[in-house]
Structure formats: C-alpha cells, structure tokens
C-alpha cells in the first residue's frame, strides 16, 4: 500500500461512511449487508451489472451458514482462516477496492478487520460471438472477435494450442484502464519487434482508449500518411494467420478490432479467404485486386487527363462516341469528375452511417440521381458515370476498408494534377505516391517489401497465392526467417508416386 492511498477502516460502520464518501454519486455501486455465521457483520461491495449476483447470493448463503466456536480464538481469526480458502485476493486500500469492483469483483468487508476480500465473480452482459460484419467470407470460419477480451483471447488460443502463443497484458488509459494484449508466437516473432511494440504502447499517455484506432494512431510509424500501417481485422483466423507469419497481434478491450503489425501494402491487399479457396482461383482474384487497385487510383484522373489534353491518344471511334455524349455538358471534364466523385463519396458515407432501412432509400435515390437523372438532364456525361461507377466498385474490391478509403482519398489530388498537367501531372502523382510508399515503414518493415527492396524469395505470396503444399520459407521479418513453413515435397500425388 502506498502512502497516498486511503486505508480501509476496521469498523464496518466506519467503512460504510468512508465508502459512501469515496463512491458518492456512483449510483450503480451497491452495498449488501449480512451476517457471517449469524454473528459477524459483513458487507459485500460491488457495481451492479458487473457481477454474477446469483453466485454472490450463494456465497452469502454459504457464509451465513459458517459456525464459529468461541474456544477456537476470536471470530475474526476464525473467519480469516476460513475465508482464505475461498477468496481470490486480499486488499488493503480504498483504491484497490475500486479497481477490483470496477472490473467485476465483489469485495467483502468484515467488522473488526481492516482488510477486504475480493471474489472474482465478474459476469456482465455481452454480445454473443457472431459473423464478422465487415469482413465476410464465402468459405471460411464464421466467427468474429467480440468486445470481450477474455473471449477474444480464447478464440486465439483455440486456434493455436501451443504454449508458444504468448499474450502479454498492458494497461493503457488513465481513466479507462483498458486492457491491451500483445499476442505473438515465441520463436517466430522477432523479440526486438515484440519489445518495440510493447515500448511504443507503454509510452501512450492518454485519458481513455475506447477503440484500437487510438492505439494504432499512437504507435504507427508515419502519422501523416494516408495509408494504414497496421492491419485491422475482426477475424480470429486472420489474426492467427498473422501470428503464424511472425507478426504481432494487438487486442484491445471492448472492441472486436484486432491490430496486426507489421504489414506491407501487399498483405493489405490479401484476404484471409485467399488461403481457403483453390489456389488457382485465389491467384486470379489476387491479380484482379491488384489491377483494380490501380484502376481505383488512376481511372478518373486518367480520363480527365485524356479528355483535357491528349485527345490524340484516344482511338478515334472511342473519342467520337465520348465527344457525342459530352456535347451538351456544360462543365469541363475535371469539374465533372470532381462533382461526381464527391457525390459518390457523399452517397457512400450516407449509406454507411444511416440505419439499414433508410440506407436502402439513400442508395436508390443516389443511383437515380447519379445514374439516370443527371445524364438525361445533360449535366453529366454517361462515360463519366461509368468511370465513377468503375472506380467505386474498384475501391470496394479491396479487402480492407482502410486501404480502399486511402485510395479513394488520393484519387482527388490525382484528378487535380491530371486536370492541371495532364498525363505529366498523373506521372508526377504516381512518382510522388511511390516515393511516399517507398519511404514508409511499418515497425521497420518496408511498406513495399518484397518488391522494393526486392526479396525474390518472398515473391510467391505476392504474385500468386502459393498452394499450401508448395514448400515455402518463413518470411524474413520473423525470428526464424528462412526456415521451412511446410515440409518440401509433401504433396499427396508425390507420395503416391513414391509408394509405387
């Protein structure tokens, strides 16, 4: 007990007064008086809603049934002897008491003893494990993280039944005292990385952490970048896959969003489902995603550049049909593109924030406004509508929302550059983004690895989704980098051949 902490009182009436003072205006704090063994006055202190009250009642009944004999010493001594086998911890100060009851424990105070006894009966209402809403898959496990740290940790442990899965706990937030868990696999994750993550989280000084986003913002390498430097997932299987690759998973209390670090841009363009689907199909889908990554970024600006400065580069038939539809449009291409893209973003945002019933209405109205009315009113050309629609779809194709949104954001400066400098501006934008991406790091891992810096050995997981039986080495970022993840030459067809 420190000097500045308030000690507990021995007298139960005194404790009561002290508690009332300490917990004034905490209307959810409850005190429950009873007698232990019909002689010793005792009192349960807890926050209602955080504890399992039925079990507390059972405990009370059991204690009420305890009998004390006068020849075995004082009541207090006898009680202390018996309670030691039941309680989980002894406490000695008011602050400790508040700590315990706010995490769901029940504290028993007894007349004549200046100590409290904690019973962990934490139990509160929580959401059941459900389908992850933001990352749905067709093939793959259907459970997602929940708001409960205990459940989330259990979901990870269930997938990695090894003592090598380590979970370090840290408390962050002066008032929220949120529990943060740093999970990693010993022997796979580089120890320096684990220490770095722990140090960075340890340095956070803040009143409250309500979501993993706060943690992410505090510990990321480059705060001014539009690109996410950590992968945020609510899928335990994705988190487990990250752990198996030697990455680190950061779980935050009261949110289903887990952070995976370090990541590269390419891991942000992969979905956990890639690994459950047949590898040829998954590889094709990966390429589709890569190409649509560029489409989302470049199509509107490319369209603006071509129509504003480089008519000669558009094949004449196509140019004619575009020119025909743009005949009556009163706006220059840049303005048209800006208007439509902004409108699209507004619709998307409205659709996300609104309740589901209204959301449908918004998308219908939006589709009508953007698609039909604007073109027939002669305000927007139909090729422009197509461009906006294609980029919209392309940005939704990216499996992680955070990458999609950064690409959508970068689209606007790119359009501006294209509108001012044409293709040259577009190239300048591309060079600029590349310089930025090349200088970006996520916990020391270059953001564009393994392409730049080039690590040819790790290309298999970028240019294709390697088949599971393909002998693969562990990524170089891990402690045991270079060792085999799967034994070479173990595909069934080869084994059969050997037997013959």
């Amino acid at each position: 007990m420190n000097d500045h902490e308030t000690p507990l009182a021995a007298n139960i009436e005194e404790s009561r007064e002290k508690l009332k003072h300490f917990l004034h205006d905490c209307s959810d704090a409850s005190m429950y008086h009873f007698r232990i063994g019909e002689q010793l006055p005792g009192m349960f202190v807890f926050f209602s809603g955080l504890t399992h009250e039925d079990r507390m009642d059972e405990l009370r009944k059991e204690m009420a049934g305890w009998s004390f004999h006068e020849d075995n010493g004082s009541l207090q001594e006898q009680f202390q002897y018996r309670v030691a086998g039941v309680c989980s911890e002894e406490i000695s100060s008011m602050e400790e008491l508040v700590d315990h009851i706010s995490s769901g424990s029940v504290i028993l105070l007894v007349d004549g003893i200046d100590r409290g006894y904690a019973f962990s009966l934490a139990e509160w209402r929580k959401r059941a494990i459900e389908d992850p809403a933001a990352e749905s898959v067709i093939r793959g496990p259907r459970e997602g993280f929940t708001e409960s740290m205990v459940d989330n940790r259990a979901m990870l442990r269930r997938r990695l039944r090894s003592q090598k899965l380590k979970m370090r706990g840290i408390e962050v937030g002066r008032l929220t005292k949120s529990h943060i868990t740093i999970a990693y696999i010993e022997g796979l994750a580089a120890p320096e990385l684990v220490k770095e993550v722990e140090d960075r989280i340890g340095m956070i000084e803040i009143d409250g952490v309500l979501e993993s986003g706060t943690i992410e913002e505090y510990i990321e390498d480059e705060p001014y970048s539009p690109f996410p430097q950590m992968l945020c997932t609510e899928r335990p299987d994705a988190a487990a896959a990250g752990l198996l690759e030697g990455r680190i998973v950061i779980l935050t209390d009261n949110t289903p969003m887990a952070l995976i670090a370090p990541v590269s841009l390419f891991s942000l363009l992969q979905s956990p489902e890639d690994y459950y689907e047949r590898f040829l199909i998954a590889t094709a889908i990966r390429w589709l995603r890569y190409s649509f990554f560029f489409i989302a970024l470049l199509v509107p600006s490319g369209y603006v550049a071509l129509l504003t400065y480089h008519h000669e580069m558009v094949p004449s038939a196509l140019l004619l049909s575009i020119a025909k539809s743009r005949e009556s449009i009163p706006f220059p291409a840049l303005m048209e593109a800006f208007m439509m893209e902004t409108m699209f973003e507004a619709l998307r945002e409205a659709g996300v924030r609104l309740p589901k019933q209204v959301g449908a209405a918004v998308s219908i109205v939006g589709a009508l406004v953007i698609g039909q009315a604007a073109t027939s009113a002669g305000l927007v050309s139909s090729p422009m509508v197509m461009v906006v629609a294609i980029t919209g779809i392309a940005s939704f194709l990216l499996p992680h929302y955070s990458v999609g949104i950064s690409i959508r954001l970068l689209r606007f400066p790119m359009m501006l550059l294209a509108g001012i400098f044409g293709l040259l501006g577009l190239l300048m934008g591309i060079i600029g983004i590349t310089i930025h991406l090349c200088s970006l790091r996520s916990f020391g891992l270059p953001y564009l690895s393994p392409i730049a810096p080039m690590m040819v050995g790790e290309w298999t997981d970028v240019v294709m989704r390697p088949p599971a039986w393909l002998p693969r080495k562990r990524p170089r970022l891990t402690k045991s980098g270079g060792s085999w993840r799967s034994k070479p030459g173990m595909h069934v067809s080869k084994l059969h051949r050997k037997q013959e």
């Binding site: 480089h310 580069m313 094949p315 400098f421 300048m428 090349c438 730049a452 810096p453």
Partner: protein, 367 residues
C-alpha cells in the same frame, strides 16, 4: 539522409536507368549523324569505357579515406585546395545535370505541352526529386526497383511491337566507311557511360561491398544491350533519316498501330522518359547534395536539399538562353567536356593516389 544502406544490386539497377534514361531517346539520332549505318556498333565499343569507369569508381572508393571521394581530394591536394577541387567537380556536375533537366523539359514542352511554361515542368520534377533525396538514397533505390522494370518493359515492348516494320537491309553494308566513323560515334556514347562515375558518391552506402564489381559490370552489359537494341530498331525502321529526327524513338512509337485501337503510344514514351529522368535527376541531385555536405562537413545534409534544388532550377536557365545554344554546345564540345570531367579527372585522381601510396610504400620500406 546519409545512413540508409542499399545493396549493390539496387545500385546497379539505379545506375542502369541513370545512364539509359536519356540515351534511348537521344542516342539513335546523334550516333546516326556520326556513324551512319554502323551506329548500332557504337555502344559495343563504348561499353569499354563503361567498364573502365565502373572500375575507376570502385578504385576511387577503395582509395578514399572512409569511402568519401571528397576526403581523398583533400588528402591529395591539402584541405583548402582539395575543397576547392571538390567544389569545382560539383559545379561540373551542376552543369551536366542542368543540361539533362533542360533536355527533359524541352522534350516534354515541344512534344506534349506546347503552352506550359518550362519553369513549371522543371519545377515539379525538382520538387519530386528533392523530396526523394530528403528521404535518402534508400528510397531512391526502392523507387528505382519499382520504376526500372516498368521502364525497361515498356521500352522493349515498343521495340518488339516495331518488329513487323523493320527492314534489316538498312544495316548493310557493314563498316562501309571503315572503323573511323564508328569510333567517332562511340565517343558520344562514352559521354553517357562516363556518368557512371557518379556512383562514387553512392558506393559508401552499399552494404555488400564484395558484389560491387560484379553488379557494376552486369549493369554496363545491360545498358549496352538496351542501347544496341534501340539503335538497331530505330535504324532498321527509318534508315539514315534517323539522324534528322531529334527523338527517333518517339517517332518510331507513332508507327505502331495494332487493331486500330492500340495506337499512338507516345504516352508510353513520355512515361518512360519522365520516370527515367526522375531517376537520373535524383541520382545527380543526391550526389551533389552529398558532395557539398561532405566538403563542408555538414551535420544535417537535409538542410541543403531545398537550396540545392533552387540553385538547380536557376542553373537550368543559366546553361543557355535557348535550347539551340545548349544543343550546339552538346554537339561541339559536350562530349570532350563530359569525358574530361568524368574520365580524365578521376583517372588523374586515381593515379595521384596510387603514386602517393607507392611513394609512402617506398618510404616505409627504406626505413
């Protein structure tokens, strides 16, 4: 900015594009003017100088105390004279790179953006390069690893798409006028190869020092291959009239037309040119910044990136009142000028250092 380490492979990739960026567009026309039918042989002869310069840069790096060529100059000529020589060498680089930048801007302006002020074209490029330089050579090397494959792929794509139009008979007879014109043309090619010496400022950053020579030689070989390929393609396409065009490859790209849709590939040429020049200017920019900060022992080289960029912008206009003057300079004395700066001067340095070491060796053995 000075601490990012790179691998020798990354350096080779960067230097590959560093030399090629302006060659593919400009060289076919210049070499045709000098060597006519045998212009495609010029890179094959010129590559000897490429190997020499790579070797020279590596020797200089090995002879230099702490790998810094500026320190070598200071130890050879004394501190103050050495600094002066270093500044002179940097001024020479300023001159060469500003001609390059001017070249780039003139190409963009005369072919694509006739009305855009040239200062805007130069300024935007310098801002980007300055940003990359501030981030360190590591970042330039990584952007190189992304851009160089794209550039090379598209260059070769244009050449491959030209194949149906090519006529090998343009090349015959071989060595019609004897070897003299070929040698003359190869001197111009040497002017490009000699710029590889700039690697001497970057070599201290290389992590795997053992592979420098190997990758350096591969780099020169790769450059020669692309040079020969583009020279051959251009000459087989248009014959001796290649000499009349300033940018024969751009003209060649206009020849390509497949399925009435795949045509007008100038945009690709522009992309290749802009990305290539970005790498070339960044390397020069970095070398200059590093040279200055080494000469004056600056603690924070980042601080002079912006001033150097501004100076580069001015020098681009100081090199000549108009592009005609600059072209005349390049055509007449440009080659000997660049060869003196990037081959003769380093050879002198290297020779002096070797001599001094030899004398020192004599001195110690006499004792």
């Amino acid at each position: 900015m000075l601490n990012g380490k790179i691998s020798s492979f990354q350096l080779a990739i960067i230097m590959f594009q560093f030399v090629l960026s302006s060659t593919v567009l400009l060289m076919p026309s210049i070499t045709t003017r000098l060597s006519e039918k045998d212009m495609w042989l010029t890179p094959l002869i010129g590559m000897a100088v490429g190997y020499l310069v790579v070797w020279l840069a590596y020797q200089l790096f090995k002879l230099s105390p702490e790998g810094s060529v500026v320190r070598l100059m200071e130890s050879l000529f004394g501190t103050y004279l050495g600094k002066a020589v270093s500044i002179l060498f940097i001024a020479f680089q300023f001159h060469i790179v500003s001609i390059s930048i001017r070249d780039y801007a003139e190409f963009i302006e005369s072919n694509f953006f006739l009305k855009t002020p040239i200062v805007v074209i130069i300024g935007t490029m310098l801002i980007l390069c300055g940003w990359a330089v501030r981030r360190g050579f590591e970042v330039i090397a990584r952007t190189g690893q992304i851009f160089v494959p794209i550039i090379t792929l598209f260059t070769l794509l244009i050449l491959v798409l030209l194949i149906p139009e090519l006529n090998p008979h343009h090349l015959l007879p071989l060595l019609e006028r004897g070897p003299a014109p070929v040698l003359q043309g190869s001197l111009v090619v040497d002017g490009w190869f000699s710029q590889l010496l700039l690697a001497v400022y970057i070599l201290p950053l290389v992590r795997d020092k053992n592979n420098i020579k190997k990758w350096g030689f591969w780099c020169v070989t790769g450059i020669t291959f692309v040079m020969v390929a583009s020279n051959l393609a251009v000459f087989m396409l248009v014959g001796e009239s290649a000499g009349y065009y300033t940018y024969p490859v751009l003209m060649a790209a206009r020849y390509i037309a497949y399925a009435e849709f795949f045509e007008h590939l100038e945009a690709i040429v522009m992309m290749v040119w802009v990305l290539g020049e970005y790498i070339k200017i960044s390397v020069y920019y970095y070398a200059i910044t590093r040279g200055i900060s080494d000469t004056f022992r600056l603690q924070k080289p980042e601080a002079i990136v912006m001033p150097v960029g501004l100076l580069l912008l001015f020098v681009c206009f100081w090199v000549g009142p108009d592009f005609q003057t600059v072209s005349t300079f390049i055509a007449n004395i440009g080659t000997s000028y660049i060869l003196i700066g990037f081959v003769v001067f380093p050879m002198l340095l290297c020779g002096l250092a070797l001599l001094r070491n030899w004398f020192k060796g004599l001195g110690t053995s006499a004792k």
